[in-house]
């Protein structure tokens, strides 16, 4: 009997050992998560084919606009706006320094907004008689061709390609494209952007400019410029490349970024006006002539002087 018990104990022990020899398996991971998808600004997309050819229209001088005229004949575009009582202007509400909503007052402010108000002041006698319509870069030309707005003042570069669809005023500001990166980045100019993810807004001139200057760059397009800053802060892009004016506004909002490289383009900002409203083009040029004599400098001092150094209004050119 004793021997039996001993045997059975031995047997049981061996069985237990054999069973125990098999791996007990890894501890259960209660919530396996491999990676986390970062949130993205709405409509952010990778651009695969951006035409980097740029505008090469021969014989086109984008800076030359129609001659100024302050006359407002009855039945003219200006007359219609006067009867309506307010000017409808397509602007940006997300680009710091040029066109942005001041969260403290809820009002739109910036250099472009000041220009728009000057047009309203001249035309309607009241700088506040403006209905602002916030539009994205991509909406600038459609809102004009569809007649939803009277003018567009929104860091709008005059190009020969765009002149086929709409009209522009004379140049009221000359910006140039540069690159914004994080302070610890080793990018020193547009030439270093090869293989990097670079953000620019949809249908802006900045996007083809980047591709032209750095064909290996991976362009990412967004609706608004501030979305580019968001993506840079979230680590989803390595750089933002656009006009120094817009970049200055971004650097102002985030001291851990820096603007690098030289200007590699000239961006001629003009006021966009529907193609058929040539009377309005002449009238706006008339207003801009007045603006260059004082209000321009006031606004520049308020928004840009500290960030971009001293400058004077560009000389108008006429056809």
């Amino acid at each position: 009997m004793n021997r039996n018990i001993r045997w059975s104990v031995l047997l049981a022990a061996t069985a237990a050992l054999v069973a125990g020899c098999g791996s007990p398996g890894a501890p259960v991971d209660p919530a396996p998560i491999e990676s986390v998808q970062r949130p993205m600004p709405p409509n952010a997309a990778e651009e695969s084919d951006v035409d980097g050819g740029g505008s090469t229209n021969d014989g086109c001088n984008p800076a030359a606009s129609l001659g100024p005229s302050g006359n407002i004949p009855s039945g003219s575009t200006m007359d219609e706006i006067r009867q309506r009582g307010h000017l409808i202007v397509g602007v940006d509400q997300n680009t710091f320094l040029f066109g942005f909503r001041n969260p403290t007052t809820g009002k739109l402010e910036g250099f472009d907004i000041d220009i728009a108000k000057q047009v309203a002041k001249e035309l309607l006698g009241d700088p506040e008689a403006v209905q602002f319509k916030a539009i994205s870069s991509a909406q600038r030309i459609p809102t004009l061709t569809e007649g939803q707005v009277d003018i567009v003042v929104r860091t709008f570069s005059i190009t020969c390609e765009r002149l086929e669809d709409i009209n522009f005023s004379t140049v009221y500001y000359v910006a140039g494209q540069r690159v914004l990166v994080n302070k610890d980045s080793d990018v020193e100019g547009v030439g270093d952007l090869g293989g990097k993810r670079v953000c620019a807004s949809k249908t802006s001139t900045s996007l083809p400019n980047v591709v032209q200057a750095a064909p290996e760059a991976k362009p990412i397009s967004v609706d608004d410029w501030s979305d580019c800053l968001v993506m840079l802060q979230q680590g989803q892009v390595d750089a933002v490349s656009t006009d120094d004016t817009i970049l200055a506004g971004m650097a102002e909002q985030d001291p851990t970024t820096k603007i690098v490289g030289d200007r590699f383009t000239d961006e001629l900002y003009g006021i966009g006006i529907p193609k058929e409203n040539t009377d309005m083009v002449r009238y706006v040029n008339h207003v801009l002539d007045k603006v260059r004599g004082g209000p321009w400098q006031d606004s520049y001092r308020t928004w840009l002087l500290d960030r971009l150094g001293s400058a004077s209004p560009p000389r108008p050119e006429y056809q």
């Binding site: 919530a31 998560i33 986390v36 949130p39 993205m40 600004p41 709405p42 009582g85 307010h86 409808i88 397509g90 509400q93 997300n94 680009t95 710091f96 942005f100 909503r101 001041n102 969260p103 403290t104 007052t105 809820g106 009002k107 739109l108 008689a129 403006v130 209905q131 602002f132 319509k133 916030a134 539009i135 994205s136 909406q139 608004d224 501030s226 979305d227 800053l229 968001v230 802060q233 506004g249 971004m250 909002q253 985030d254």
Partner: protein, 466 residues
């Protein structure tokens, strides 16, 4: 004596040893032959009257006991299902609804807070915080039993992973907003995009799943228990057949035992059918006046919340918000129709049929009309260049004719109406559960009486053969 014992002593062990293997061997054989032997013996005894009678008796007793067991279990099970409806399933559907509603409201509130100028209004901040806290608490509740439904678990995973991301973006937006940076607006847009493209669809799906599970369980709780029904009617038929058989054999009209058994079974049929009918009707009524009504109201409320978010986002987009405005029109149409009287709200009003929630629904419809009028005014102001006034009318809660106040009342009325519908579900279903009081033990006792009656009835007959 002792000598004889000791004398026999030695002879015992060998016989014991010899007999030891035999039982095991014949035991196995006996086991193998058991079914055949049983069939043979049953067939043999069935040929003789006493054998046949005891066979019928055994069958009836077993049938009575099985019926008792199955019936009692089925009633207990149904009672459990109803209690689970009240304690578990309905609160879970409500929790999923809460997640969906709170998140929609958080989206609308964050947009309103953005539109307000200067320091963020404390009431909007509190409302947002309350929304997020509610959504989080409700999600934990809703998650507690999503494990068995993979699709629900998937939605819970999306919600629990993305909700902290959403709140993080909102706080980043606030921080930038307070510094006067437009990137705050960009973060808010990103947060809203996350909410609308991932969180709300997941919350919607989770609510649909939980609402469907509630309806399915209500179906289970008000269905006919077919197995029990077949067994109990079969038992009654068998008892009657047995009585007819005995009457033919013995020419005695009454067998007291079997009579008692039949009466017990008849009683259990009457009681069971009555109680289950009452219970089913009450559970179904809890479904139509409670759950379905609550579902309509929940869907109406969510459409209203999202329309409100669209109303504010149209203003946030400042002229670029045609798509939001269009969506407002669609959602408001879903919510209350073109005039504030139709849509899901109108459907809920028809469904209420003068029930206790009618006043809340009627009040919500009136305020919806006010809201629609205010919204039209907001759009008119915005479209004619009076943006600041449009924003004031849209978000100023103190303006009685404003959109914010009207929407606040609509939402309050809907929440009250949902509460009433849920109460109606609870009342009806609890009463349904009460209809089953004592049915389970009663059924067991009646089945036992049936088995006992059968035993006694047949024992009397079998005695006559001894």
């Amino acid at each position: 004596m002792t000598s004889t014992v000791t004398g026999r002593g030695p002879s015992v062990p060998p016989s014991g040893r010899r007999s030891e293997p035999r039982p095991t061997r014949s035991g196995v054989g006996w086991l193998l032959e058991l079914p055949a032997n049983a069939v043979r013996s049953v067939a043999r005894s069935a040929k003789a009257t006493p054998g046949r009678l005891s066979l019928i008796a055994t069958g009836l007793i077993v049938l009575a006991l099985v019926t008792g067991l199955v019936g009692t279990a089925s009633v207990l099970n149904r009672d459990n299902t109803i209690n689970a409806l009240i304690d578990h399933r309905e609160p879970l559907a409500a929790a999923a609804q809460e997640v969906y509603g709170s998140l929609s409201d958080a989206d609308a509130t964050a947009a309103s807070a953005f539109l307000s100028t200067g320091t963020e209004p404390p009431e909007l901040r509190e409302r947002y915080e309350l929304d997020i806290a509610r959504a989080g608490a409700a999600l934990a509740k809703a998650a507690s039993d999503s494990g068995t439904v993979p699709e629900a678990a998937e939605q819970v995973a999306i919600l629990s992973q993305r909700m902290p991301v959403y709140t993080g973006l909102i706080e980043t937006a606030r921080a930038n907003n307070r510094q006067g940076f437009p990137s705050g607006a960009a973060y808010l847009r990103e947060a809203s995009e996350l909410m609308r493209s991932q969180l709300l669809p997941a919350a919607h799906r989770l609510y649909e799943i939980d609402a469907q599970r509630l309806v399915d369980e209500q179906d289970t709780a008000s269905g006919v228990p077919w197995l029990t029904a077949v067994l109990v009617f079969g038992l009654l038929a068998a008892l009657i057949a047995a009585q007819i058989h005995l009457k033919r054999r013995t020419n005695r009209v009454f067998n007291i035992g079997l009579l008692v058994a039949s009466i017990a079974v008849g009683l259990s049929i009457l009681w069971g059918a009555g109680a289950l009918t009452v219970q089913s009707v009450l559970v179904s009524s809890g479904r139509s006046t409670g759950t379905e009504q609550a579902d309509l109201l929940v869907r109406a409320r969510i459409a209203a919340l999202q329309a409100r978010a669209d109303e504010t986002l149209t203003l946030v987009a400042r002229g670029g918000g045609e798509s939001y405005d269009k969506e407002f029109g669609e959602l408001f149409g879903q919510f209350a129709g073109e005039d504030g009287q139709g849509g899901l709200l109108g459907e809920a009003r028809r469904g209420a049929e003068g029930g206790p929630e009618t006043t809340h629904i009627a009040s919500a419809a009136n305020h919806a009309t006010t809201w629609l009028r205010a919204h039209a005014e907001v759009r008119r102001l915005d479209n004619t260049g009076n943006y600041a006034e449009a924003v004031g009318l849209a978000i100023d809660g103190t303006n009685e004719k404003g959109a914010a106040a009207a929407f606040g009342r609509v939402d309050g009325d809907l929440v009250s109406a949902i509460g009433v519908a849920r109460q109606s579900f609870l009342d009806e279903t609890t009463n349904g559960s009460r209809a089953l009081t004592l049915l389970a033990p009663g059924f067991a006792v009646l089945a036992a009486i049936a088995a006992l009656g059968t035993t006694l009835g047949f024992r009397e007959r079998l005695r006559e053969y001894r």
